[in-house]
Symmetry: none
Subunit: 219 residues, 2 copies
């Protein structure tokens, strides 16, 4: 083998080991690797595993069942697993109340209530907070009851941002894409079949944050 270049068989072995370990919670045995990759001899699997150790993709512990460990080099080469960011849930978002903004007070949820999101999914990690949507009132924002929205404060919002807006006269929170149009503000539903709301007096609304991510879990 050319040093630094993996054979096709070795690459298939790594791929299998990485997937198997993720799916099962434990590494595969020599025989499981052989079966998956089409190698009938445990000594050939053993030989190739040792080559992968030499190349730095795996560690092995001797005389131990499933004694295979993925190395950082391997994880990087499959596309480094993303860091996890922990975002506090500060409460729920209702149509009839302003967004509960993060503060130093005890949040509605327990102090430890949080959602964990991979870093790749987030455009920023500064000043994020999460809210759980209650009710059907956000459906024009394509956001369901039970969805989690990750937001950040938006002192400087831009046209097209999806924001949580508190409409003072209606005493209502809504999620909309916001656009400044002259002296007015246009609130555009995410659902393309719905029409916008034009706010003649921007003093009537309060932009409480902008949405950076929506997560919907289904069972």
């Amino acid at each position: 083998m050319v040093k630094g270049k993996l054979s096709e068989r070795q690459r298939r072995m790594l791929d299998f080991i990485e997937k198997f370990s993720n799916d099962s919670g434990y590494p595969p045995s020599i025989r499981e690797i052989g079966k998956a990759v089409g190698i009938s001899s445990t000594s050939v699997v053993n030989y190739n595993l040792n080559r992968l150790v030499d190349e730095g993709y795996l560690d092995r512990d001797q005389n131990v069942s499933r004694g295979i460990r993925l190395t950082e080099k391997l994880l990087k080469s499959v596309g480094k697993l993303s860091d996890v960011i922990r975002i506090r849930k500060v409460g729920r978002i209702f149509a009839s109340e302003p967004v509960p903004l993060p503060s130093t007070d005890s949040p509605i949820f327990g102090a430890d209530e949080a959602i964990e999101i991979t870093r790749d999914l987030l455009s920023t990690t500064d000043g994020l907070f999460a809210l759980e949507v209650k009710g059907d009132s956000m459906i024009d924002a394509m956001v369901n009851d039970g969805d989690v929205v990750v937001m950040k404060l938006a002192p400087d919002w831009h046209n097209g941002d999806m924001v949580a807006v508190w409409l003072k006269d209606k005493e209502e929170t809504t999620l909309k894409h916001i656009y400044r149009e002259g002296a007015k503000v246009r609130l555009q539903p995410a659902n393309p079949t719905m029409g916008p709301i034009i706010i003649d007096d921007p003093e009537n609304l309060e932009v409480q944050g902008k949405v950076v991510l929506v997560v919907r879990q289904l069972n």
Copy 2:
């Protein structure tokens, strides 16, 4: 034992299993657990492991060495950040095509795109694949152009599951909550203001997978 309350021995076992798994990259064997916790009999370790499974802290695979998996409940109780699960993106979901299903072949290593999701957000980690939504045709499913849907194959779907259905006569994919009603099938949009589709002949549809998570990134 009082249900829901762990004995001291069981708590020490969990603590050891979690630490050992982190340090070594693989779970401990029955005998390693026994040695660490001071239990000389493999059947006592086995008995207590089964109690921990009953309480939801562990999963076990039968007749497999180191066939112990930490559950989400355990990881939460030790306050540990969620694992990251890498889910292959197998393509895009269009209204006018069937869902591109994951191939049984091993992919060329590193070739596919993937999305990384924290384990907490997922009800299962088996057999997941991800698709990016193209077009506005899924808006009745509350799913936007550009959203990522995480799915799994659904040989046994249940009433209420959100599934990707290929409608043969219309040559169209749609995402709907599915219900079996006698000999017919009801496809219910996620948007509560929209009416259902009744499928008189279930042979006309093909359930291609069920949705377990929707992720929407906004910039």
